[in-house]
Amino acid sequence: MEIIIGILLVFMIIGSIISLETKDLLSAIIAIVPVGYFCGIIFLLLGAPDIAITQMVVEVLSLIILIRATIRRDLTTIEEERDFFGLVTTFAFIFVFFIFSMEALKHLPSFGTPSFTLNNNAPSNRYLLNGLKETGAANIVSAIILDYRGYDTLGEATILFTAILGALAILRIYARKRSKNE
């Protein structure tokens, strides 16, 4: 299992590098879609069908939204000059960050033994054992998002509402009224 996931992750890395480095904006956006689909496949392999479905449908929608971002076809190719100094600083920062994360990720429980199996008081055990009895939902993920942690889902729905409202507010055609002294 680790090997398959590792291969898929390498594909994801390649896809994201391509999408960031290619000169054509449309190809960049199209290159990001396989990354998302590989992500969805990994979710499916790891026993998360809910998330896999969501990831797939969201991928379609995000593709539509992102393609709208490249408004005119004649402007899709881009030329960039590299700011050498900035690049070096960023790479140095990212490298340092990576070293620290290597040090830190060592201490995580190894892949395949999640923390809730090591700790008997962890809430996940309770969700799995008593989820059906206490909420009546056979899908434990549904039980969590709408009952145990329903408050988070309220936040989630609100975030979507806020973002759409914000998008509507920013796309107003006339935003300002002129005042007398301007």
Partner: protein
């Protein structure tokens, strides 16, 4: 004039056949979210995808006649209010926010639609909310165009104001 908009006849015919099924699939995902994979959010996205498909196949005007921006916005608010209301009803019935106040009847009734208290109701309200709001994103991004006049960008809408 509207008949000429959109894609070819094949796409239109297939869409006409498929749109109901896709919608039904979305509804299934939403309602059975507590028994099988899925739930309010993916189902809502499928709802939105149905309308996006119609828009792409038949052109903007046709889709906007079926579901206008204002209707979408009101459904968006409505879904959110319903969800909040279910959460607040918990206070009324049991004194706690987000209480699952409908009887679950465990273990006699299980793996049924109405065995999970408020969860299916929440799923439905979230489905409505998500579908409407994501369709609205698509609409606002689809009707807005940027045009350049004398080197200055202008934002215009291609939505027709005088709908009949």
């Amino acid at each position: 004039m509207n008949e000429e908009k959109g894609m070819s006849l094949i796409v239109k015919t297939v869409t006409r056949w498929l749109k109901g099924f896709i919608f039904l699939f979305g509804a299934y995902i939403v309602i059975y979210g507590h028994l099988s994979p899925g739930g309010g959010f993916p189902g809502g996205v499928v709802f939105a995808a149905t309308f996006i498909l119609i828009t792409l196949a038949f052109g903007r005007e046709y889709a906007l006649r079926k579901m206008g921006k204002i209707l979408a916005s009101e459904l968006d608010s409505l879904g959110a209010i319903l969800f909040l209301l279910i959460a607040l009803l918990g206070i009324y019935y049991g004194g706690t926010f987000f209480l699952n106040f409908i009887e679950k009847r465990y273990p006699t009734v299980n793996f049924k639609l109405f065995s999970a208290g408020t969860i299916p109701l929440c799923q439905i309200s979230i489905g409505i909310k998500v579908g409407a709001s994501l369709f609205m994103v698509f609409i606002i991004l689809a009707v807005i165009r940027v045009v350049f006049e004398n080197g200055k960008g202008k934002l215009i809408t291609t939505e027709k104001k005088d709908k009949k």
